[in-house]
Chain length 513, copies 2
């Protein structure tokens, strides 16, 4: 089958309908609703769930079609648009929209070859990524592409080409500094909120660290969610550049800038499949860092039975592959394999993690030492690869930068530049989960803890989540609290406690022998 000619979308013979904004939220998936008895549906042979192409004055979007038999919602000549379709098409209410069948996707032939084990070259990845960003891949196509890369893992050359294609299709930030530092954590470890501590340490030593972070997708808090309880994070590009120019660093939400837009679509599908692949992970991380203009990257790989990377061997292989691909871009990368056997700090949830961050930065007496040490380790690696500390001395220098108050001072300046330091909210409701027996804590299931915090309302309810009262190895008496669940409504608290009652293995306490 062949694609229509390039001018097909603006063909004056194509049927038109009038745009109607439905204010329908569908995430990134563009949706259009037509009347089942609409003349265009009929003459074009559209069926529900087919992909159709909408165009308006040079703007174009491919959308999933649903059909409705309701005269009140839509007139016969109206095309009801979801918010995502409305924005991409850039129409106004009642404006003419041309509709036609979505063109055949040539790049799917590469996806099919990849499914059967063929290796793809740069041109194939360029075509795929271009179509993905243009919204031409359905979720089925995306899932097929990602599954193929799980069944036959991407090799080093493929990861390089995919990463390059992902960078080229989005915006890129440029900086005057010759060294631009960034950090990334593989994730999967609740409470591991080092970024708001690492950035001020690194910036305090004169290095550029323009950090953009994501919101939570399946976890109870992303760095952007936590940081938002401390300062504004939705910075436009001009503000972001101003903050970095004046303070050396920022801690912003990455969604406001279009770095590696293909990654956003891939990540969502990977989460739904619950499949992580090394190749896609490396392409995701490196494409974001390259697009953000980074020259030096610290890559935190927590390893633990319930973390994302489960064995030392998996961590080693991931690090080797990331280093090899980064080298092809001239990007310096330092991979740190860290302890992923339990959550970091005490809080799990946006505001609860923010309180841990503040305690460390302000050197409060009860500040969680594991979070402080881990932040110092990562910041130290950044100072070393950035040339601000000799090998082996970075972590100590980073720790001193916390202890002497420079990190806290820089953090306050960054928050002020981003729009002003805020006080994180406190939840109204809280209840303890107590030990069922006396003994020693032998296992903490990070995945189930994350789920508990989410059921309590995190991250949508920023004050919600979990505060840990124990760590691995803690000795505990029957009836003593192991953790506290925090929620913004009693219903959410009940819902979370209900889950906890059904999940005795969130925290395992072993009887003394």
């Amino acid at each position: 089958m062949s694609t229509p000619p390039p001018d097909a979308a603006s063909d004056p013979r194509r049927p038109t309908l009038r745009a109607k904004r439905l204010r329908l939220q569908t995430q990134s998936e563009p949706v259009v609703i037509l009347r089942s008895d609409c003349h265009v549906s009929r003459s074009e042979g559209f069926a529900a769930r087919s992909q159709i192409l909408l165009s308006n004055n040079g703007h174009e979007v491919q959308a999933t079609l649903y059909q409705i038999d309701d005269e009140e919602l839509l007139a016969l000549d109206e095309a009801g648009l979801s918010e995502s379709a409305w924005e991409i098409l850039n129409v106004s209410e009642g404006e003419a929209v041309q509709v036609s069948h979505a063109p055949t996707l040539e790049s799917l032939a590469s996806v099919r070859r990849r499914i059967y084990g063929a290796r793809l070259d740069g041109a194939a990845f360029d075509a795929i990524v271009h179509d993905v960003v243009a919204g031409r891949y359905t979720e089925v196509h995306l899932a097929a592409f990602l599954t193929a890369g799980a069944a036959f893992p991407l090799d080093e050359a493929e990861i390089y080409e995919l990463t390059r294609a992902m960078v080229e299709v989005g915006d890129r930030l440029e900086w005057d500094a010759s060294i631009v530092v960034d950090k990334h954590c593989v994730g999967g470890l609740p409470g591991n909120r080092t970024t708001p501590i690492v950035v001020p340490i690194v910036a305090a030593h004169g290095l550029s660290i323009p950090k953009t972070s994501s919101r939570a997708i399946t976890s109870p808090a992303g760095t952007a969610d936590t940081m938002e309880t401390l300062a504004p994070v939705e910075l436009d590009l001009a503000t972001l550049k101003h903050v970095v120019d004046t303070e050396g660093g920022c801690i912003a939400w990455g969604g406001a800038v279009h770095l590696s837009p293909a990654d956003d679509r891939f990540v969502k599908i990977e989460r739904e499949m619950d499949v992580d692949t090394e190749g896609q992970l490396i392409a995701s991380v490196l494409s974001k860092k390259l697009a953000a203009g980074a020259t030096h990257v610290v890559f935190d790989i927590p390893i633990g039975a319930t973390a994302k990377v489960r064995t030392q061997e998996d961590g080693d292989r991931l690090a080797r592959l990331a280093e090899a691909v980064a080298a092809r871009f001239g990007l310096r990368i330092c991979c740190l394999k860290t302890d992923g056997s339990q959550p970091v700090g005490r809080g799990i949830g946006p505001a609860l993690e923010a309180f841990d961050v503040l305690a460390v930065l302000k050197n409060e007496a009860d500040a969680p030492d594991d979070l402080r040490q881990r932040a110092a380790l990562i910041a130290g690696a950044a100072l070393e690869i950035g040339g601000k500390a000799r090998a082996g001395t970075g972590a100590q220098l980073a720790l001193e930068t916390i202890l002497d108050g420079r990190a806290w001072a820089k953090f306050q300046s960054i928050c002020a530049a981003q729009g002003g330091l805020r006080t994180p909210p406190r939840a109204c409701c809280s209840e303890a989960l107590t030990a069922p027996v006396s003994g020693r804590v032998v296992h903490i299931n990070s995945r189930k803890l994350a789920r508990l915090a989410k059921l309590a309302g995190a991250p949508a309810a920023p004050a919600a989540g979990v505060v840990m009262d124990i760590r691995l190895g803690s000795e505990i008496e029957r009836g003593q609290p192991m953790l506290h669940v925090h929620a913004e409504t009693q219903a959410e608290l009940d819902y979370a406690l209900d889950y906890a009652a059904r999940s005795p293995d969130i925290i395992e306490v072993e009887l003394p022998t």
Copy 2:
């Protein structure tokens, strides 16, 4: 993560909303629309595109959530349901519906293992197929499962277990006859409409052949679409049984009976991926045939460069595997490898193919001989495995059954039993596609011909499609018609001709040397 307890859906503490029927067509995908500011969305932390579980008096459906900011469409406490969700939930307007997060799908763990190359056992396929039929798999999950089976082809044992699971999860037809014949064609060959000829031949010899067929999914006509222009095909189970009891055979639409319901979901996703795998194809065909109560099956495998099976080796492998799996069920199967190098008969499109069928059955002078010979070949194989003809004599017996009028008589009786013989419609508009040069027809692209017929309106417009004026090897003069495009509207005719003008390789004519 763990699943909620079995009674979670009827937990009185679960929040409820009032059902509202939106009359929204979404094919098989259940969709629910809630207000973005609805208290349930808020307290449950639902996000657009998440999967949520709806329940009502023991009925349960998992639906994709969209959110809307429009007070006119939905009240705050309403849940707007697509037709698919509405039917499964079995609610009435305004009735209470409980909502919660969709439970974690344990069977996805098997899909993930399969992606990484592990073989699945019967229990794993049972769990997957059960969840698929219950509507718990999203399109992403289905695509991941199907891609895994393409990357690492299902082995014979897996195909057997998948087929078995697919049969067990649906309805099964039972017949008194000890021999129940069925036929299936791999497809991909336009105009290959042998079923309405094969069934009356086989039934005329006293064999049972309760044939259920599909409508077109991506082709310009399915057997059910063609047959519907000749007689009613949407028979309920009682009518279908009555027709077979009295006439020995039927030609009905399979959608009215729930044979192998998992297959309907798999096929849709395979088409969207445009990926066919032997394993899934065999499971699809055999599960439908076993569920339909067949004991003997003729399997037509057309082989050609633009057909679904492209090489003799692929055809041989498919036949061997199908025979091996069928044997495990005690099902007798006869695989016929046929010529797939060009369309069969003249018409492509529901009514146009029906005219070919009528011409053959009525022994009209201009009846397409290739269609007659092919139908005789398949019917002959059925007569042989059904014990009505000695090996090597079936095709001749079948041909005689056409020539002496018995097939036409039986066809008329079957149509009468199904509700009455109809006259297929004729299109109002038609235009020839002429040869660009004089010469010999050396190649016919079946895929592009199918696309041309679809752009002309087939199968939604039953009279639309293509009539071939040439075959491979025909000598043709410049300006003579190669085919005629038929359409029910001028707009559709223009649209199809526009495609033809851009696709010079639909039919290739070679200049004499």
